[in-house]
Symmetry: C2
Subunit: 209 residues, 2 copies
DNA sequence: CGCATCTTTGATCTGACTCAAACGCCGTGG
DNA sequence: CCACGGCGTTTGAGTCAGATCAAAGATGCG
């Protein structure tokens, strides 16, 4: 019995670019991310890439897997990742997971926000929105220090999440930096004025992150 | 007891532009759509609009509502809508609903597809993708007749779903018509060659709709 | 030190947007 | 029956945000 418990919830590690799941896999476990970042994405036949979700410390990767038999998009680590495996074969470890369905709801809500961003927002608005969201998630995970947090994404990653090109992300970030609404160097994000960045993000007054 | 049952699942009707739910509502019922189309959308402060989901006959509106206490986006009827109300207060009507979690999974999967579309696809690809998806959904609902089906969206609706402008949708549809890959007049869609349209949609060989 | 990855810069191009107006369709009311 | 107004579609001309192509600096790691 003890070995059972150990097998159904244990520590795993991933290196950057390593797959947590491949396309068309039948995931038999969820990952509770303790440290590091990962993303889910899709590749078009000609190489265009779109990141469809980011997983941060504290996130469950991925809540959807408990509903669908197969996952349709690969998930890869962006940094070194340390996580605990929650076996799906033994469903009790899932059901017992605190706030499970609210995590699912949150992640779907975020997808909806991204949809609006990609469909209708400008480059500045998309970047403001994304960085605000990531900062807020890091803050909730207890990983923000004052107005700053780690942000281990390359500009190419940011481009693939926001539906822009890396070149344009670079230029847009520069102009935002020069306006003083954010600082971002060597994988650290600092937001001097949350409110100012919020205004740039074209969020409704009621929209949470 | 009989009156209880009647109250927890009954017929409702909506007219075009009428709200099925408003923003920040606490939905206390799901709608099983029998006839007509509806959509969920979001309005930015300056009037830009993005449709984040379309509900067709046979769809449940909205599976998410059983997970989250409040809904963050309004849902409105696009045509006359006839639906049955599944009370959320009496959860038994939900749990008993056949394939409930698979419907939720489907709708999230679709959101992911839209995300890729809005983030990385051209106008032609987005339109091909959307029309293909809608045709396929109508077909599964038993509402396609050969290679055609009803499509009661205005070009403005299509624009708000694909993240384009109505003018550009108009011009792009014209060029697609002239190439013979689709016919679309007076709310009817005909797809002479599914395969040809699929190629235009930049889908991977494994992507379902 | 050397190679790979990431960031930055410059020049040019284009898909999609904007603005504006005309046209068609249809239901309504005189 | 027709005039009217509202909505959706179509067309044209001009503009712009963001893409593309190319190359030069940084940065970092084995």
């Amino acid at each position: 019995m003890l070995s059972q418990i150990a097998a159904s919830e244990d520590l795993v590690f991933f290196r950057p670019h390593q797959f947590l799941t491949r396309e068309h896999d039948r995931p038999e476990a969820l990952y509770d991310i303790l440290e590091g970042w990962a993303c889910r994405h899709r590749l078009l036949p000609d190489g265009r890439r779109q990141i469809t979700a980011l997983y941060l410390p504290g996130d469950l990767c991925d809540p959807m897997w408990s509903l669908a038999p197969t996952c349709h998009e690969p998930v890869i680590a962006l940094t070194n990742v340390r996580a605990t495996r929650k076996s799906l074969v033994d469903p009790s470890t899932i059901d017992r997971h605190k706030g499970f369905s609210s995590r699912l709801a949150e992640s779907v809500e975020r997808q909806s926000n991204w949809l609006v961003s990609l469909g209708r927002k400008t480059a500045v608005e998309r970047l403001a929105h994304l960085l605000l969201e990531l900062f807020e998630r890091m803050r909730r995970a207890g990983l923000a220090y004052g107005q700053q947090c780690a942000l281990p994404l390359t500009q190419t990653d940011i481009a693939d999440a926001t539906g822009l090109t890396a070149v344009h992300v670079n230029r847009t970030l520069q102009s935002m930096r020069s306006k003083g609404v954010l600082e971002l160097h060597s994988k650290w994000l600092r937001i001097p004025d949350l409110g100012a960045l919020r205004d740039l993000a074209a969020l409704g007054p009621h929209d949470a992150l």
